[in-house]
């Protein structure tokens, strides 16, 4: 997943997640629900001060933008 130039960043403010499952519905390759605390996990993400980030290939933009749009608490960002 990290082959080539990865200049798209996905950001997740995990603390505020209410566990609605939308991101997993739209981008199942990038998101998973944690069975531990019921919040979603940004796969491959690294945490800094509550924000989880991961760089991804442009091919992932579309589905993750859908996830970001659908998030009811607006805690997902896709930055190009």
């Amino acid at each position: 997943m990290s082959k080539g130039k990865a200049n798209v960043t996905i950001i997740h403010q995990r603390d505020k997640c209410i566990g609605c499952h939308y991101c997993v519905e739209f981008a199942p390759e990038r998101w998973r629900m944690s069975k531990k605390d019921g919040k979603s996990v940004l796969l491959g993400g690294k945490e800094k001060k509550g924000f989880w980030t991961v760089k991804v290939q442009p091919s992932e933009i579309e589905e993750n933008k859908k996830a970001a749009n659908a998030c009811p608490v607006n805690i997902i960002q896709v930055r190009e």
């Binding site: 209410i18 566990g19 609605c20 629900m33 069975k35 019921g38 998030c71 009811p72």
Partner: protein, 418 residues
């Protein structure tokens, strides 16, 4: 006859203390995201549970955790952890609606209360849930006549909960109402993907709307734009009827509300309940309590459906119609307990002699007082401005970082309709 239990909301420690100061018998609150105020930043975490239990024990109040959203498979582990931890810490009960929660909590011998999300509207449903729960919130859409019928049936048929005592009925007594049958609204889900049933309601119903005929483009004239926003429920003026209908627990809504709201509403209901049992519940007192409650956040009041109104009453304002508002001034820096004087740093606006003030904090709860004399660095002053330190008499202990507010009257165009 058991005295009506007064149950207060708390979104944080400030509100928790305010509820105790107001005289609540029990307090309910959410832990993590599995509750109907998941969107609010005001939620306790699992780590707060032991402290909550400690404070509650000290003040002899019962504690209830709202674990009442719909539950998905990925929530099960967290749900179980909340129930286990609640049991360990000595929390009184879990308020539940999903069968997964009801079943797990009762398997762990944790007291279960049935949430309003299950909309109990008849005695048969009470009988069904009595296998798991000792207290049940009735649907807010029932009339008191219907409530009384259910209560009578519980007594007649001796419908008992797991504790072996008769099932107790709980009723929403005060606060925000849903425009839909409680817990059955999809407005927020359809417009913002934010399910009210996962605690993420964006409150579309509180906005103003136009009605346009799409065929000819005519806009319908409606005398009130807030056509979906119900006024707030208030039962303080017919509390006698509520008690006589057989209700045992009265719940105040408002886990998203501020500490001064909690204290004001709870303390007035406390007085009203006590008055009823002392035989001194009068119309004059009722009017005074209503005036007091109107000083904090409200959308205007009505009695809900309990008295059998035909249709909902809608608010005519976008937000609160409170007759008072609070302006943040600054924070506490010192308290001189020997002389009962608190020192504050004014960070914004100004404070003058004669101002009514509110001081709130997680341990302090809510203190309401008036500034009789004000002192600056060099002696008495008439007012303190932004950036200045000042001190005045406060009989209760003020802690560093407690917040100081000034209370001012708001201009209300129309008297709040009662």
């Amino acid at each position: 006859m058991k005295k009506l239990e007064l149950m207060a909301p708390a979104g944080n420690f400030e509100c928790f203390m305010a509820a105790i100061q107001g005289g609540a018998d029990s307090i309910y609150f959410g832990i993590e995201q599995l509750n109907m105020r998941a969107r609010a930043t005001m939620n306790f975490t699992l780590d707060d549970l032991s402290e909550i239990a400690r404070i509650a024990n000290e003040h002899n109040v019962r504690t209830y955790i709202t674990l009442n959203t719909i539950i998905y498979d990925h929530d099960i582990s967290l749900m179980k952890r909340i129930v286990d931890e609640a049991k360990n810490c000595g929390i009184t009960a879990i308020i539940a609606s999903d069968q997964a929660v009801i079943s797990y909590a009762s398997s762990q011998k944790m007291e279960v209360h049935i949430s309003t999300q299950l909309n109990i509207t008849n005695a048969e449903t009470v009988r069904f849930y009595s296998h798991f729960a000792d207290v049940m919130v009735l649907s807010r859409e029932l009339s008191l006549t219907q409530v009384k019928k259910i209560s009578d049936e519980i007594k007649r048929d001796e419908i008992k909960g797991p504790s072996g005592n008769l099932v107790e009925l709980e009723l929403f007594g005060h606060g925000a109402l849903c425009m839909a049958v409680s817990g059955k609204c999809f407005l927020s889900l359809h417009t913002a993907n934010a399910s009210a049933n996962r605690g993420a309601c964006v409150q579309n119903c509180r906005r103003s709307y136009k009605v346009i005929d799409l065929e000819d483009g005519h806009e319908l004239e409606i005398d009130n734009e807030y056509i979906m926003s119900p006024k707030d429920l208030c039962t303080i003026d017919f509390l006698d009827q509520v008690i006589e209908a057989g209700v045992e627990v009265l719940k105040i809504e408002g886990r998203g509300k501020a500490a001064d709201y909690v204290k004001t509403v709870v303390s007035n209901y406390r007085e009203a309940i006590d008055s009823y049992y002392e035989g001194s519940y009068t119309k004059e007192k009722t009017e005074q309590w209503m005036e007091n409650i109107k000083t904090v956040y409200n959308r205007g009041f009505w009695g809900g459906y309990y008295l059998g109104q035909e249709l909902g009453e809608w608010t005519d304002a976008p937000g609160s119609k409170a007759t008072q508002k609070k302006i943040f001034l600054g924070r506490g820096s010192n308290y001189f307990s020997k002389i009962g004087v608190a020192e504050f740093k004014i960070e914004t606006h100004s404070l003058s002699v004669g101002d009514k003030v509110l001081i709130t904090g997680p341990t302090t709860g809510v203190i309401e007082t008036e500034v009789l004399e004000l002192h600056g660095a060099n002696g008495p002053i008439s007012s303190a401005k932004k950036g200045e330190m000042c001190s005045f008499q406060v009989s209760e202990v003020v802690r560093p970082s407690d917040k100081l507010y000034k209370l001012v009257a708001t201009e209300v165009k129309d008297a709040v309709h009662v």
